[in-house]
Amino acid sequence: MILDVIQRSLQSPNRLVPVESLLGRADGGRMPHVDVSLLTAEMAETACRLCPTSALSLVHREEKELLCLDYGQCIGCGRCAELKAFSIAERLTCCGVSKQRLVQYFDPERATEVETELDIPKAAGREILSLMGRALNIRQLDAGSCNGCEAEITALTNPYYDLERFGIHFVASPKHADLLLVTGSVTRNMAVAVKQTYEAVPAPKLVVAVGACGCSGGIFATSPAVAGPVDKVIPVDAYIPGCPPTPAMLLTGILEVLRRPTKPGK
């Protein structure tokens, strides 16, 4: 019978995750969380040594040695989580923000998180956001990723996350797009193509760098075959960390960019 496929589909359970329980979730993303009260200077030093990228580093500021955690560089290897002060974060609040806000500073001696001056994210114009708020077209651009980010971006359209309910579509041509979702560290071989794609998107447009590679170059930052993170090649409006970012993190990031965190379509 020709309708058997519909029957089968409708029999399957409804997996749609309400938006409230998605926003800010980071489980499965293996991003670290720092419990400052347990942090010691020694532990901070060990953590920096363990970190395969320089997501964890010690910086000198105002005569103090601070532990700097840059989510943009973290590839979620989970090594630091073996230390007492570190754990795997279940929530992450820094998706889809400016590059500065991906970074946190901790003072191991005072056991406090150091507030840094946050520059307000370059608001991409209220007008644009109101335009794109209810109908956004995304063009995904792989600038040299490992396919991990792509796998998770593809998952955004499945019946769990259903990106379409927010009025967000993926489109084929950059000329139809409003937002470029760029993954991967830009390789030398892709640099020209990335610039061309950016040019082919009609204004007003937004660019979001995805994943550790897109934000900072990640594990490939030092390779001579890599031209650099996305913002070295084209202007970037927002960043989504993770290696790869989970669909929940991606969704949080995209909605954060649109400043529309909790309004799903009817």
Binding site: D27, C146, A151, A155, A172, S173, A193, P224
Partner: protein
């Protein structure tokens, strides 16, 4: 046939390699990999050949390079890309190679730059020339697709020569995501190498990590504890299930049959979310490490996984049956993109693609490793070589993988999950596993806990050159479908 014309005398090794690679298809050896390395003690560049000799298993042959290498491509077309890569990486001359254009390094690399030899970090931007083959004839035009593709796909370039919708010729140009991974491995501590391996091909990251770890263990002559091997097997088979379910769904989506596509993506997400609960990571990242694994599977987690796998494989099998029953689906899949048995053999194609073209090869059975030793299981294989055959092989493998996981879950017993990998020794070795895309091999060399060379033979690198042969003669509108049925990784190939 003398494969190596020219003044450069052939070396005994190359003659031996050529001898093994020739002969009737059932007796000749299969080229597994070909790569270079620098021997620091001899201050010489070496070239390594890994062959799979029938009845004798893997065989490694080595030779010294004297600035030039006699090409074995005229004997075995499967070597073509390996030799071009060798030339790009080490700057050697190839003798007798029919197509010595650069492969990894595009126009922006200066012609004299060879990343594995040069130590410089800052490579100047250049504007070299690259020539595509032009098909002559009135009205023949080119359709250039990529590097940036529509949809959520990785970058790669396809140059079609067409008359209307009919594809006359297809030339690939990949390596847009070439990130110099093999170069980055040099100087990486053994204990961190698996992270780089996990970033070679994101959707097969556990297979890459396991292959790397096994190669390290092989090189150091240690074995992972049985429990770790079982966990690895579960992870590998789960990854295979996820990959194949996603592929079948995507194939359905490519012919705009959206219900099965959405259904399969839902099953895939079910499995990934179960992975988070079972092991803490959607793609099993950070689980495999040299010497074992970082996490155990608790009995309650094992029960959860068992139920999820049973449900997923049952639902998937039913939906796949409905899909393949549809005449409209059959008419799209049948006879589309046929990869002939002889072409697949000549190009040493591996994995589900090979098994759909009548090459009954699977590393899990032919060269068993880890927990696969002593197992006896069915390897699905078909000989039509079309999209339908590749889909069928994947559907059957999902059922087979589900069974393997269920069996392995019953054998889980408490025990150690990690053994120590000795430091302070020089090591060299390799290991191959069957990743969802086919034979994946890591060859490692180094000393004192530090890698000096790591070569990755990825199944995609091996299979990409076969794709054009399946596409020519079809209409260009069927290309995305054929390409999807191969489902090769760009990043895994480009590295």
């Amino acid at each position: 046939m003398d494969p190596m014309p020219g003044e450069n005398a052939t070396t005994p090794t190359v003659v031996e390699v050529a001898r093994l690679l020739q002969g009737p298809p059932e007796n000749r050896a299969r080229l597994v990999s070909l790569f270079g390395s620098i021997d620091s003690s001899l201050k010489r560049t070496m070239v390594h050949y890994i062959l799979d000799v029938p009845g004798a298993g893997y065989r490694v042959l080595e030779d010294m390079m004297n600035g030039s290498v006699p090409s074995i491509t005229p004997v075995s077309p499967a070597a073509a890309w390996y030799e071009r890569e060798l030339k790009d990486q080490y700057g050697v001359e190839l003798f007798g190679h029919p197509d010595p254009r650069s492969l990894l390094l595009h126009e922006n690399w200066p012609g004299n730059c060879h990343p594995m030899v040069d130590s410089t970090q800052a490579v100047p931007w250049a504007d070299e020339h690259y020539e595509f083959l032009q098909v002559e004839g009135d009205g023949v035009c080119e359709v250039a697709v990529g590097p940036v593709h529509a949809g959520i796909i990785e970058p790669g370039h396809f140059r079609f020569s067409v008359v209307g919708d009919n594809v006359l010729f297809l030339e690939l140009r990949h390596f847009y995501t070439h990130k110099g991974t093999e170069r980055l491995f040099q100087g990486t501590p053994v204990s961190s190498g698996q992270m780089l391996a996990e970033s070679v091909s994101g959707d097969n990251c556990f297979a890459h990590a396991v292959a790397y770890c096994q190669a390290i263990e092989e090189a150091h002559a240690v074995t992972a504890p049985p429990l770790a091997q079982l966990v690895r097997l579960i992870g590998l088979e789960l990854e295979r299930m996820v990959a194949h379910i996603a592929d079948v769904g995507a194939l359905s989506g490519d012919i705009a049959f959206m219900l099965p596509a959405a259904y399969c993506s839902r099953i895939k997400e079910d499995l990934l979310q179960t992975s988070v609960r079972v092991i803490g990571s959607r793609f099993w990242r950070g689980i495999a490490v040299p010497g074992g694994v970082t996490r155990d599977i608790s009995p309650s987690a094992a029960e959860m996984l068992r139920e999820a796998v049973m449900q997923a494989s049952g639902e998937f099998a039913k939906m796949a049956a409905i899909m393949l029953d549809r005449p409209s689906v059959q008419s799209r899949f049948e006879a589309a993109g046929v990869l002939h048995h002889s072409v697949a053999g000549d190009l040493a194609v591996v994995g589900p693609v090979a098994r759909a073209s009548g090459i009954d090869a699977d590393i899990r059975r032919d060269h068993p490793y880890g927990a696969y030793r002593g197992l006896n299981f069915e390897i699905p294989s078909l000989h039509y070589g079309d999209v339908l055959a590749r889909t069928r092989v994947r559907i059957d493998e999902v059922a087979c993988s589900a069974q393997l996981i269920l069996d392995a879950l019953t054998q889980l017993q408490a025990g150690p999950i990690r053994t120590e990998v000795p430091q302070d020794v020089a090591f060299e070795g390799f290991s191959a596993i069957e990743s969802p895309r086919g034979e994946l091999l890591y060859w490692v060399k180094g000393e004192a806990g530090m890698l000096t060379r790591c070569h990755i033979k990825s199944p995609s690198f091996q299979n990409w050159p076969a794709l054009p042969h399946a596409v020519v003669g079809n209409v260009i509108a069927d290309f995305p479908l054929i390409n999807k049925s191969f489902n090769l990784s760009y990043s895994g190939c480009d590295r």
